[in-house]
């Protein structure tokens, strides 16, 4: 028994994913079963915002981990690839009826079709259109990554980071360019696009029967992350890791460095593009100024906190990070006056980010290799493998 392909492990992962998806659907539809929900479970609560944003970010974080953690290419272009995905989504999905109002500064859009309508409209058109646009968003990002990669992937470590960061910034500038206004709407946002709640199943009067707003990003992220995991566990994944560990030895083993680096770079960009499309759905618009380098750093931070080279680490860290920044520390932003009339010091707008930064510093100091290191979640429950340590 050399191959340790454990069917049980695959089955457990599949069951876990199904339970997770069902749990999400159940959680956001609890209102249908329980009349008086606690506020935290209402569809508008912070919980669901965190879940949705977390799903989007975990996909992007995993895509970044594929490149930075598994292939050892330190790239900072993720926000740029997300921008490409977001715009692809917005431009192709914006209903034609909304185009004149959205593009009023430029006298209408240069592109006068919308994928859902092309596919016959209705729920079917929307779903088909979304699937197609996700793939297109990924392909656009991957194609641009390929173009960028040709010159840039010859660079190593910091230089690669600087170059990719620069390209992301250039992309942002290009998308805000006035001349491209009829396509990108210049510096203005492209709003009025289909969002997660467009997928809710409603009755004739518009009343929601089955809420799917959190399910959609979860489903997409899980499908994409599964594909990344399959890639990492394939022989390509092993080649990526070999390149990370020792380029010269990898090359001596017959691994074509240029080809594999490009593959990792484009795949990472592809999924960042899909993540960008998901993000556009989440915020309900596409606007270039959102996809700054700060966004890349945020994702890089998540990857580092989760553990470079750990998929489950990235996912866990994403939800912790998003929950911390969006939800758990919110109370720090509002002044608090106790019943005795004592005003708690320091609590004011912006203090949240101060505490948040301190929390991150603590995490980075005490978990040098991130919360998961390069282990995966199942490893924590496993004993050392048989025959692992002898004597």
């Amino acid at each position: 028994m050399i191959e340790k392909k454990s069917k049980a492990g695959t089955a457990a992962a599949l069951i876990g994913i199904l339970v997770l998806l069902l749990g999400v659907v159940l959680l956001e539809n609890l209102g249908a079963f329980i009349p008086n929900l606690p506020p935290i479970l209402l569809p508008t609560s912070q919980l669901f915002i965190v879940l949705k944003k977390g799903a989007v970010y975990s996909l992007v974080a995993v895509s970044m981990n594929l490149l930075n953690g598994f292939t050892g290419l330190f790239s900072l272009g993720q926000a740029g690839f997300m921008l490409l995905g977001a715009y692809t989504y917005a431009i192709l999905m914006l209903p034609t009826a909304n185009r004149p109002t959205v593009y009023y500064l430029y006298g209408g859009s240069a592109i006068n079709f919308s994928l859902p309508e092309l596919f016959g409209g209705g729920m079917f058109g929307l779903i088909l259109g979304t699937i197609v646009v996700f793939i297109l968003a990924g392909c656009v990002a991957a194609f641009v990554a390929w173009l960028i990669g040709l010159p840039v992937l010859r660079l190593k470590s910091d230089y690669l980071a600087i170059a990719t960061l620069g390209f992301a910034e250039i992309l942002r500038a290009i998308f805000q360019w006035d001349k491209l206004g009829p396509i990108t709407n210049g510096a203005n946002m492209i709003g009025s696009i289909p969002i997660y709640s467009s997928f809710n199943i409603t009755d004739a009067s518009g009343k929601v029967i089955v809420r799917l707003t959190t399910f959609i990003p979860f489903l997409t992220a899980i499908i994409c992350i599964t594909m990344i995991v399959l890639l990492i566990n394939s022989s390509y994944g092993r080649a990526f890791k070999a390149i990370r560990e020792d380029e010269i030895a990898a090359e001596a083993m017959g691994i074509n460095l240029a080809k594999h680096k490009m593959l990792a770079f484009c795949t990472s960009a592809f999924f960042a593009g899909v993540g960008g499309a998901l993000f556009a759905m989440y915020v309900g618009n596409a606007q270039a100024k959102v996809y700054t380098s700060a966004m890349t750093y945020e994702i890089l931070l998540i990857v580092v906190i989760g553990g470079i080279g750990s998929i489950t680490g990235s996912c866990l860290a994403t939800f912790l990070y998003v929950a911390c920044s969006e939800w758990w520390l919110r109370f720090l932003d509002s002044p608090l006056v106790l019943s005795s009339g004592f005003k708690v010091p320091l609590l004011r707008n912006g203090f949240r980010m101060v505490v948040f930064s301190i929390v991150i510093m603590i995490v980075v100091l005490f978990f040098r290799k991130g919360i998961m290191g390069n282990r995966e979640l199942p490893d924590l429950f496993k004993k050392k493998k048989k025959g692992g340590v002898a004597k």
Partner: protein, 234 residues
């Protein structure tokens, strides 16, 4: 089997290899000995395509290899055990072995078992990260990894580097065993004594040129070689 003709390699701005020619017969052990900077490693690296030769030809069984990319050369049956072992430290022993077979698409089980037979220690450590192995075990892994590509010729760059004498003997015994099983060996060594003892043919390399060539035993007995490389001269 492997024929090098007039090989010149520029490396780091200097001509490290200044036109050398030698042959590695099928199923033999051939060694290149020489001092630091003689161009031994550069020769190996240019054969496997990691460094581009400036001039000369490299032929494997009559097939021209000069200028091919490394992955093509490896798939034609030449593999390099790099200097300093260079195992992939965070990957397990088994993963390291699998990467050695990266260019193959067939089943690896037989070869993994073969490597485990040659190096039972590796089997025990199969799930351990390669970086946690001892120096000798890492050298075994580097050899095992190279064998996974099912090479016709295995080139080894300083396999004795930084290892205790008893470990080195073990490694050389294995090299002989691998050779007996049909793999041609091209060995580069500073430990000339050990290398010449197992070599069928030896070449002495001095500052980029071959200055002597003979059978291993003859070189071992040669006064000049003794003086310069074996530390036994008067």
């Amino acid at each position: 089997m492997l024929k090098i003709d007039g090989l010149k390699v520029n490396y780091g701005g200097i001509e490290a290899v200044k036109g050398i020619s030698f042959e590695v017969p099928d199923r033999s052990i051939v060694t290149l000995i020489g001092a630091n900077g003689a161009g031994k490693s550069t020769t190996l690296r240019s054969i496997v395509g990691l460094v581009r030769p400036a001039a000369g030809n490299i032929q494997l069984e009559g097939e021209e290899l000069t200028g091919l990319p490394t992955d093509r050369i490896v798939s034609k049956g030449i593999t390099l055990v790099p200097e300093g072992r260079r195992v992939f430290p965070d990957l397990t022993v088994l993963e390291n072995l699998k990467i050695g077979a990266y260019l193959r698409n067939d089943s690896l089980d037989d070869d993994i078992n073969w490597v485990y037979e040659l190096f039972p220690r590796l089997k025990e450590r199969s799930w351990q990260a390669a970086g946690t192995l001892s120096g000798g075990e890492q050298q075994m892994l580097a050899v095992g990894r190279a064998l996974m590509s099912r090479p016709k010729i295995m080139m080894m760059d300083e396999p004795s580097l930084g290892l205790a004498p008893i470990v080195v003997r073990g490694i050389f015994d294995i090299i002989r065993e691998i050779n007996r099983q049909g793999v041609t060996i091209l060995l580069v060594e500073q430990n000339a004594n050990m290398a010449l003892k197992i070599a069928d043919l030896g070449y002495v390399l001095e500052t980029g040129r071959i200055t002597m060539s003979d059978t291993g035993a003859a070189l071992l007995a040669n006064e000049k070689v003794k003086e310069a490389y074996l530390g036994k001269g008067g």
